[in-house]
Amino acid sequence: MNLETGSGAARIAAAFNTEKPAFIPFMTAGYPAPEHTVDLALALQEEGAAILELGVPYSDPLADGPTIQNASAQALAHGVTMERALELARDMRTAGVHIPIILFTYINPVLRFGPERLYKAMEAAEVDGILIPDLPFEEAGEINALAKKYGRPLISLVAPTSAQRVKMIAEQAQGFVYCVSSLGVTGVRSELREDITDFLEAVRRYARVPVAVGFGISGPDQVAALAPHCDGVIVGSALLNTIRQAEVLLSQAETKQEGLTVVKKFVKLLQSGV
């Protein structure tokens, strides 16, 4: 692992070296269209994003609610595949995105691309890690071995239903542990589970890496409530909804900056409680 070249694991660890919990936005590569992806990433970085989760669109996103499903479908219609998403990540680097980038995708496109080929491509595009929500601990052997070999973590998810599994998963987690804040798929929720803080503290007890929480988080009050109990907060669907609202503005040269401002304002609002 080489800090200078910013190889995955080290770069992710460094991203959590802040007083406030790390803000981790999720965006779908190629949504609303590929030409906006780099601009949006730069805007998020400017507003203090610590790590960027980059969704690689998939036809059957089992762990996603309607917002991310629709974003994926639209990005797919623009021809965004794994290959293109990696190109977009590389373009981000060229344009000055220096925060860690983590792919969020599903196991089938990974298997199809070829796991080792994907790791080589991630290295080339300076992508620092990967998250595969339909690859539970027991099935992750091959990808985990590659994650170690290439120093680019496979981020583990734990759920409130994980019960005895929390210890096993958290102890072996690399990069950070992704705590699913609620039952269900991704998507905006108005309320968090009552037992969420107990759950987060339980994960923290076992994890040797930072603990981030996501799924359903949409407002500054939720971010503020979670902040004392975690090292990072992940926001996806709520951000995509904002991006969708800004789509018309983003798509015209004269109003593009205005569109990016709408997104930045939302990100500022989210972090205002911390």
């Binding site: 496109p109 199809r112 239903t161 269900g184």
Partner: protein, 399 residues
């Protein structure tokens, strides 16, 4: 990638199977596996299941010697395993009753299900009513249109039919949506999967609940012919009627097993659902199996005139039986299936489901090529009442 060595977890059929699901439901799958193992070792559970299969569904179903079809085709002696005579009209009830009882045993109050042709949805709604559970059925919008009568049947039975708009609005999308719904309500709901698909332990469990088809067939043919059949034929969507039929014969290597997939408008067109013939290995709906997918690993929408066969994957055990050569998989087109449907109607006075008509179409091809002492058993998985309006529309009304 060497999947065989890369994955060593339980619940595999060779390279196929496994459990590729969001972490949120892994615990529920562990609980299900445990409850299922306990249940099938519990005489009280088995007795209640056997009682319902017998008195409620009408088992054992007959093994009927199709004399006129046999004469017409010339060649093999053809037997029909009459799953169409089950309560609600298809083999789906066998599995729905068993999973419904399991849900009750686990203390769940709500079941969810997905459905393509509507048969599994109707079976689930029926079982929910009979056992006093609430029931939500996820169904693609296109399938709701194709199977209006079944939608109404489910509603009559007190189930809520949830329309699924994503994708092409067929079984694949309904299954994805049912899994999402399950992830969201896993603490109180039981997901009744309708075929030998999904994450472990579903493929094994559904097969065990459907093996009653093959077990009965075995006993019946021994009684009637004093020997095992030469061929066993069944249609394959996800593959539950075929797996239930094949399983008790797996060790009898002289019994040839033939699964029949839907070739739609032809396997050389892009409108088919012939997963084993044209698919490649991948992961969908929690299992590794053969899939219709493009070079980027995106799932390709399947097509078949038969909503119950219109699925881009196939049960992992079938994928394995194909790899090992124990079973052969053939594909028949929409037109061939419709022609076979007419033939069965006019020779035997039986209107088969469009799904089952695919198996009959294979028999139409196979029977004449073998000798008259050949015994061929075909699973008539369901009756055609549900398909009558669709066939009527397709053929432009009465003629």
């Amino acid at each position: 990638m060497n999947t065989e060595t890369a994955y060593k977890s339980k619940g595999r059929f060779g390279a196929h199977g496994g459990r590729y699901v969001p972490e949120t439901i892994v615990n529920a799958l562990d609980e299900l596996e445990k409850a299922y193992q306990e249940a099938i070792g519990d005489p009280a559970f088995l007795e209640e299941l056997q009682y319902l299969l017998r008195e409620y569904s009408g088992r054992p179903t007959p093994l009927y010697y199709a004399e006129r079809l046999t004469e017409k085709l010339g060649g093999a002696r053809i037997y029909l395993k009459r799953e169409d005579l089950n309560h609600t009209g298809a083999h789906k009830i066998n599995n729905a009753l068993a999973q419904g009882l399991l849900a009750k045993r686990m203390g769940k109050t709500e079941i969810i299900a997905e459905t393509g042709a509507g048969q599994h949805g109707v079976a689930s709604a029926t079982v929910a009513a009979r056992l006093g559970l609430s029931c939500k059925v996820y169904m693609g919008e296109e399938d709701m249109r194709r199977q209006q009568l079944n939608v109404f049947r489910m509603q009559l039975l007190g189930a809520e039919v949830v329309p699924v708009k994503s994708g092409t609005g067929t079984l694949k999308d309904a299954t994805s949506e049912a899994i999402r719904a399950w992830v969201s309500s896993v603490d109180r709901t039981f997901y009744v999967i309708g075929s030998v698909v999904g994450p472990y332990p579903y493929p094994q469990m559904v097969r065990d609940f459907q093996r009653v088809i093959g077990d009965e067939t075995r006993e019946q043919i021994m009684r009637m012919e004093e020997r095992l059949p030469d061929y066993v034929v069944a249609c394959v969507g996800g593959g539950s009627n075929a797996m239930g039929m094949f399983y008790p014969f797996l060790d009898d290597v002289d019994v040839k097993l033939i699964g029949v997939e839907a070739a739609g408008q032809g396997v050389d067109t892009d409108k088919h659902a012939a997963t084993i013939a044209k698919g490649s290995r991948g992961v969908l709906h929690g299992m590794m199996t053969y899939l219709l997918q493009d070079e980027n690993g995106q799932i390709i929408e399947p097509y078949s005139v038969s909503a119950g066969l219109d699925y881009p994957g196939v049960g992992p055990e079938h994928a394995y039986l194909h790899d090992s050569g124990r079973a052969a998989y053939h594909a028949v087109t929409d037109d061939e299936a419709l022609e076979a449907l007419r033939l069965l109607c006019t020779t035997e006075g039986i209107i088969p489901a469009l799904e089952s008509a695919h198996a009959i179409a294979e028999v139409v091809k196979l029977a004449p090529t073998v000798s008259a002492d050949t015994i061929l058993v075909v699973c008539l998985s369901g009756r055609g009442d549900k398909d009558v309006t669709q066939i009527y529309e397709r053929e432009g009304g009465a003629q």
